[in-house]
């Protein structure tokens, strides 16, 4: 396996080359040093570090995890980092008008992030041909590893325009352990209701889950519609259920399982479980896994006479 240090170097070289040759106007990657730290103050070493959204399971010391950076000048390529704390799914920025205004983009992706590109293209939100994807071979993120990393099948990005890291030796991670979803579904419906009622009681409707999701790109979300109000905005029990049902179902058969929603939630609600249950249903009922096969037809917008209707009178 290529050492992260070497991959960071290759990433920076790639970025420099792309910008110097004018192939792209901006490289969206992870980074953190440079201008974002005060140039005249040394980083004070802290004795303890609280877990942050950028590194949810941080060991108790160390510099903050790399954050999204937008490199527009070749000399800033030094800011780029690649390590096992590159959590963010950067494809979320591809549909932002502020970022599109910068010009043709290169985006650095892990295999999980890359699945968004497949869905975004299918939904005509990006022109794959006018985007340069830099794939990073990934051994997983987080310490301990994020739940999504167990059983990962996309450690080597499949559709990137160029890939950094050694593809051989990148064996699939150990098979997924019994997931939290299995545990949840083993409970009774009443217990599940109690679980979600307690979880949603902490939701403050910050919409971090929505804003961090690459597939929540609607210019005006249905939750922001107010003539008339479609989804209550209050962070009340009823309002929170209304929002989370909507968010999960609008991502049905589209969510690629990057887990950013769960990571972003400041209240620690395991939102990804809802998406995961729909992903399971999508695979069982339709044999479809969003973002895996660019040629596969999406589930919604299509139909088949063979769709099951054992639940319909």
């Amino acid at each position: 396996m290529t050492e992260p240090g070497a991959m960071t170097q290759r990433l920076r070289e790639t970025c420099r080359r792309l910008l110097e040759e004018g192939k792209v106007q901006v490289v969206i990657g992870w980074g953190g040093a440079g201008r974002l730290a005060s140039p005249t103050q040394a980083e004070s070493p802290a004795p303890l570090s609280f877990p942050t959204q950028a590194e949810p399971h941080a060991p108790l010391s160390g510099t903050p995890a790399p954050r999204p950076v937008f490199i527009t000048r070749a000399e800033d390529a030094e800011k780029l980092e690649w390590n096992d704390r590159c959590f963010a799914n950067l494809t979320v920025y591809l549909t932002r008008k502020e970022v599109k205004a910068l010009g043709k983009a290169a985006v650095v992706v892990k295999g999980c992030d890359e699945r968004s590109l497949v869905v975004l293209e299918k939904e005509s939100q990006i022109e794959r041909g006018s985007l340069h994807a830099i794939g990073m071979v990934c051994e997983g993120v987080g310490t301990p590893r994020e739940a999504k990393c167990a059983g990962c099948e996309v450690r080597v990005p499949r559709f990137a325009d160029e890939t950094i890291g050694e593809a051989e030796g990148a064996a699939a991670s150990a098979t997924a352990v019994a997931s939290r979803l299995d545990g949840l579904m083993a409970k009774s419906p009443a217990e599940r209701w109690a679980f979600w009622t307690a979880e949603f009681a902490r939701c403050v409707k910050c919409y971090a889950c929505r804003q961090v999701c690459p597939l929540c790109y609607c210019e005006r979300c249905i939750a922001d519609k107010n003539r008339p109000v479609a989804i209550e905005t209050s962070a009340s029990a009823r309002g929170n259920f209304a929002w989370h049902i909507t968010r999960a179902f609008h991502l049905a058969a589209r969510c690629i399982g990057c887990g950013e929603c769960s990571r972003a939630c400041p209240a620690g609600i395991p939102l990804g479980l809802l998406n995961q249950s729909l992903a399971q249903a999508t695979e069982e009922d339709f044999g479809y896994r969003p973002g895996m096969d660019p040629k596969a037809e999406p589930v919604f917008g299509n139909w088949s006479p063979a769709d099951k209707e054992d639940f319909i009178r």
Binding site: G32, R35, L36, A37, S38, P39, T40, Q41, E43, S44, A46, P47, L48, S49, F50, P51, T52, Q53, A54, P56, H57, P64, A65, P66, R67, P68, V69, F70, A88, V92, Y93, R96, K97, E98, V99, R202, V204, K205, C206, Y207, A208, R210, Q211, V212, R220, D224, N226, V229, E232, T233, S234, A235, S236, G239, E260, R263, A264, P266, A267, G268
Partner: protein, 339 residues
């Protein structure tokens, strides 16, 4: 009456308050984080002087969702009815000093041109017992905004973790004395807190003269436009008022709002003066470091670092402020500020 309280006795005090029908809030363990929550029982409370909850205590005085009044529509008439006000006494225990210090700052705007009775009523019946900090992390910057790990602003009483399962208590105000009597422990040797990370006055000065600056776009493009920073911030206080109901009636509510939401400044005409994220981020920093100080002589920030820790893009306010301070210092070096 000892000024040193073992943690078990603290638990009994809390249980007593709950038993007496008071609302008690404290940090509670939720998964891998702490969150301030109302306690159902005293054993939920976590008194950890080395950790910071991921939310703030403002929600006990400025709830995330507050019904204002109810209305029924009968024919052409409208009948209004009051929402029964909460009258129980409230105690927040284990608050970080950076959370407590936010209250005197919020008092300024909530008592400014119009007294916000919803806030002031809760404030009057709330006692805040803070827990002085025994540690800080990279996201903390209370010392950069004139506060510190043992600052008493906003606290009615303060606890100090002695590290051996006992807490020293200092009553600060009359409310604190009402709960703890005249206990006045000598605080252990004061802790210096985090090294100052930027100069708030210098930043405010620079900001005020650099409204238009390419820095904004450069520094804040990563912002995703959610409300994680505003909602976990002890001092952010924007709100939205909505009528929730149908043709028969409903309830008017006051909910938290965030200036980072894309539609925060959307006009009915369709025009949005802050239509891109860098404009919204700029506004947030201005509000906290320029406008609020100009109006109220107080920075609208206590350096708690929640924004930094909760931001899904790792952005927060600290990173931007340090960069701006760096720019400000460069500028001052070139054009020294006239005394």
């Amino acid at each position: 009456m000892s000024a040193i309280i073992p943690v078990a006795e603290l638990g009994e005090l809390v249980a007593g308050w709950i038993g007496a029908g008071k609302l008690v809030a404290a940090p509670v363990a939720v998964g891998d984080r702490l969150l301030y929550q109302q306690l159902a029982s005293a054993d939920q409370a976590v008194f950890d002087a080395r950790r910071r909850p991921a939310n703030s205590i403002k929600e006990f005085l400025f709830p995330r969702h507050e019904p204002l009044f109810r209305y029924r529509i009968e024919g052409r008439g409208i009948e209004l009815s009051e929402v029964a006000p909460e009258e129980r006494e409230q105690i927040v225990i284990g608050a970080k000093p950076c959370d407590a210090a936010a209250l005197p700052i919020l008092d300024l705007v909530f008592n400014w041109d119009f007294e916000d009775g919803f806030y002031t009523a809760r404030r009057a019946r709330t006692t805040v017992i803070s827990l002085a900090c025994a540690a800080e992390d990279e996201a903390c910057f209370c010392t950069s905004v004139g506060l510190g790990p043992e600052d008493e602003a906003g606290s009615d009483a303060m606890l100090f973790d002695l590290g051996d399962g006992r807490f020293a208590v200092r009553a600060v105000t009359e409310k604190g004395k009402a709960l703890f009597g005249e206990r006045q422990a000598e605080p252990p040797a004061p802790r210096p807190g985090p090294e100052p990370k930027f100069d708030a006055a210098r930043v405010g000065r620079y900001l005020a003269s650099h409204f238009e600056s390419p820095l904004w776009k450069e520094l804040t493009l990563a912002c995703l436009g959610c409300g994680a920073c505003a909602y976990t911030c002890p001092t952010c206080h924007c709100f939205d008022m909505v009528d929730e109901g149908n043709a028969a009636g409903g309830v008017r509510v006051k909910n938290w709002d965030s200036c980072q939401f894309p539609l925060f400044t959307l006009h009915a005409s369709g025009h949005n003066p802050r239509s891109v994220q860098p404009q919204r981020q700029r506004q947030r920093l201005f509000h906290k470091f320029v406008t609020y100080p100009q109006k109220f002589n107080a920075v609208l920030c206590t350096g708690c670092g929640n924004c930094e820790r909760n931001c899904p893009a790792g952005l927060g306010v600290l990173a931007v402020l340090k960069a701006i301070d760096g720019e400000a210092m460069n500028q001052d070096a070139k054009e020294p500020v006239q005394a």
